[in-house]
């Protein structure tokens, strides 16, 4: 994504209030530790947005700052076009969120907990309790005490609590935590359904595979800073290309390719080569590899471009950061 495009889009969307979440220079410190470091984040409306980062990267802290659970030390932010914390009450009226592990009053039932939360929202919220419970599949356990719930059930109840306000924006912090594979699948479906209704879902996670399956766009955060953000397809397009080559004499093939200007990083494997081409390399480079090997008399049995996953891209990005530091 070019800076110019981002700026144009930003200007346009700010005018129309199209960003569900918008932060500029957002900073939060805990003593000497800068948990959120000048974050510039733009979350488009109506999509599933992943906020990715390793443990301790500052994902939860950013969410807590956005929701007014803790104060920012610097920067500006807005939710659904409303400046926060100045218009926090208006902004949060249509926001639902789970932060950290969802916890409730254990001596009350799920329904009673939702009644407490609905009472703090607008009057119509209490009429959404049953629908919310139904939607997360908790209707049959709604009148059991929360102390008897499993982690996954509390997670679902947390989502039900989010839905009480008929939110335009849902912020879910590690929503897959504690869920079994079936639960993760249901959560994924639910998020996609919410997005299909026009809601925005921003979820933080370190489960890259889940985010790739669920989200349309992501931001990568490390050490409190957003280092990349944009639609997943655009981000992956900028990743390095991996090509797997199955050939007769891998060592000789490596020598041939090393003498070219492809700039490829070539690893020798048992049955061939694994070639990493720089990001932005066109598909012609793959044909060029084939031509070079064949012209040198090396039989090529198979040549395949490996689809870059979000996980491998994430590792590339973070490893580059590690190298640069």
């Amino acid at each position: 994504m070019s800076t110019a495009l981002l700026d144009d889009q930003h200007r346009e969307n700010s005018l129309e209030g199209q960003w569900a979440v918008e932060t500029h220079g957002l900073t939060k410190r805990f003593g000497d530790n800068v948990a959120v470091n000048g974050v510039e984040l733009l979350v488009p409306r109506g999509c599933a947005f992943g906020y990715l980062g390793p443990n301790g990267a500052g994902k939860t802290t950013l969410i807590r700052v956005l929701l007014g659970l803790t104060r920012a030390d610097a920067g500006t932010m807005s939710l659904l076009g409303h400046s926060v914390p100045r218009h926090r009450d208006v902004a949060l009226a249509r926001v639902g969120a789970i932060v950290d592990e969802p916890r409730f009053h254990g001596h009350l039932t799920g329904r009673q907990n939702l009644r407490i939360l609905a009472a703090a929202r607008e009057p119509a919220a209490k009429h959404r309790i049953d629908a919310s419970l139904e939607r997360v599949g908790m209707m049959h356990r709604a009148d059991d005490r929360v102390s008897k719930y499993s982690m996954g059930m509390r997670q679902r109840l947390g989502v039900a609590a989010c839905l009480l306000g008929d939110p335009q924006l849902l912020i879910l912090d590690e929503p897959m935590n504690g869920l079994d594979p079936a639960g993760m699948h249901e959560m994924r479906d639910m998020i996609q359904n919410l997005v299909s209704e026009g809601r925005t879902v921003m979820l933080s996670s370190h489960l890259l595979d889940e985010v790739e399956r669920t989200c349309d766009a992501v931001a990568i955060v490390d050490n409190g800073k957003v280092i990349r953000q944009g639609p997943i397809s655009e981000l992956l397009a900028g990743a390095s290309v991996e090509v797997s080559v199955e050939c007769a004499t891998p060592e000789r093939a490596q020598t041939v390719l090393a003498a070219t200007a492809l700039g490829a990083h070539v690893d020798v494997e048992a049955t061939g080569l694994s070639i990493h081409l720089p990001s932005g390399t066109g598909r012609d480079a793959i044909a060029e590899i084939n031509r070079l090997l064949v012209e040198d008399g090396i039989p090529v049995y198979r040549l395949q471009e490996i689809q870059v996953s979000l996980e491998s891209w994430f590792l590339q990005v973070t490893s580059r950061l590690g190298e640069s530091s």
Binding site: G46, L69, T70, R94, F104, A120, R121, E122, P123, A124
Partner: protein, 395 residues
């Protein structure tokens, strides 16, 4: 960044309600629904509710029930279950002190559980004013503690009135109740031997109508358990004393005893019961509000509960019974002493207070105005501290 295509469906989610009049979530005033659900949350705490019921209702009720049964089984051995003495003991000690402690425990619970049980975060995310979240707890807690205290106190009043003794025994002497000074003197004149042998007296000048008069009779005698005058064998008794002298001395003794006699009743008056009920409710309300503020400030329950108990049953009695010149204003600033100063006259002193009409003189002098100001100060300051901490706390 380009918004994904699904953004085009955004219109399917309803826009925020324009009916701002029904959704003032930025206001610090809690809604009725918030208060109602907060009552539900507290009421569903079975252990806490059981403790509240046991202390406010159970202990007085069981105590009175046992006395009723014992009196019914052996009326000559065990006195009536009710009466003024029982009322004043239960009201000024049990309900006053323990009512404060359980109310404070409820306040500490209400002030901390959202935080410790993880609900505070959910509530803040609703966008509701944190002050409204705090203030919702005050009427909710009072809606629980005030009726509980009222029920317990009503039981005490009912038993003390309806199971009161039919005869008034003052210093072991059967005396008609509620006599005026003249009436008491007339009774003494008609029953001089009972007055002289039963009522305590000192051979001193008596104020009022008895000025300058001293008691001349000196007969070793006493009143037995059946109310009869007993003169030890071998003594002359009243044989050599004229009836006029006996009556005159009995009247002087009556004057000396009238102040103490006037505070003894068969059962508490309606005025005393109402005043005492309001006083106990005030103490419970203060305990709840201070506990709420302290727990909100500290963010936990256990330590504030311990501090409140120490305040009520250790610090307040110590400072009440010992006037320390250098700390006199600190002593006056204790809420326990201030409420004790507001105690209705006619009750035994709570912590050395009780400067109401007819009450004992307080150890630590304090005007009613100052006492009221101290009470208001405690309520306002702790509420402000609790609300401030809640509005600033990281959720």
């Amino acid at each position: 960044m380009t918004a994904p295509s699904s953004a085009t469906t955004a219109t399917r989610v309803a826009a925020p309600s324009s009916d701002g009049s029904r959704d003032r979530r930025g206001s610090w005033i809690p809604t009725g629904g918030m208060i109602a659900t907060r009552i539900m949350e507290l009421r569903k705490r079975r252990g806490l509710m059981a403790a509240l019921i046991v202390v406010n209702i159970g202990i007085p009720a069981i105590f009175l029930l046992v006395r009723l049964i014992m009196h019914a089984a052996a009326p000559k051995t065990y006195g009536p279950a009710g009466g003024y003495d029982v009322f004043s003991s239960l009201a000024a000690v049990v309900m006053y002190v323990f009512g404060f402690i359980v109310a404070a425990t409820l306040g500490c619970t209400a002030g901390s559980v959202d935080l410790t049980e993880g609900m505070f975060r959910h509530l803040v995310i609703t966008g509701r004013s944190r002050l409204a979240l705090y203030f919702a707890r005050i009427p909710a807690g009072l809606a629980i503690i005030v009726p509980l205290v009222a029920v317990g106190f009503t039981i005490v009043c009912a038993v003390c009135v309806f199971a009161a003794p039919t005869k008034l025994y003052y210093q072991g002497v059967n005396v008609p109740p509620s006599l005026t000074l003249t009436g008491f003197e007339n009774w003494a004149a008609q029953h001089p031997k009972e007055a002289i042998c039963g009522l305590p007296y000192g051979n001193v000048q008596v104020s009022g109508n008895g000025n300058g008069k001293k008691i001349s009779v000196n007969v070793p005698c006493f009143i037995d358990q059946k109310g009869n005058v007993v003169i030890p064998p071998g003594t002359s008794g009243f044989k050599n004393i004229s009836t006029a002298t006996l009556k005159a001395d009995a009247i002087v003794i009556a004057k000396q005893n009238y102040s103490a006699y006037s505070k003894v009743f068969l059962y508490p008056s309606n005025k005393l019961m109402i005043e005492t009920g309001l006083w106990i409710e005030l103490e419970a309300a203060i305990g709840f509000i201070v506990g709420l503020g302290l727990a909100s400030l500290m963010g936990q329950r256990t330590v504030p509960v311990v501090l409140m108990i120490v305040l009520e049953i250790v610090l307040t009695p110590i400072f009440s019974r010992n006037a320390i010149n250098h700390l006199i204003n600190v002593q006056r600033g204790l809420v326990g002493l201030a409420t004790a100063h507001l105690e209705p006259g006619g009750l035994p002193s709570a912590f050395g207070g009780g400067n109401g009409p007819g009450g004992p003189p307080p150890l630590v002098p304090e005007s009613t105005t100052v006492a009221v100001c101290v009470v208001i100060g405690w309520v306002v300051v702790w509420t402000a501290l609790g609300a401030w901490r809640m509005s600033k706390r990281d959720a």
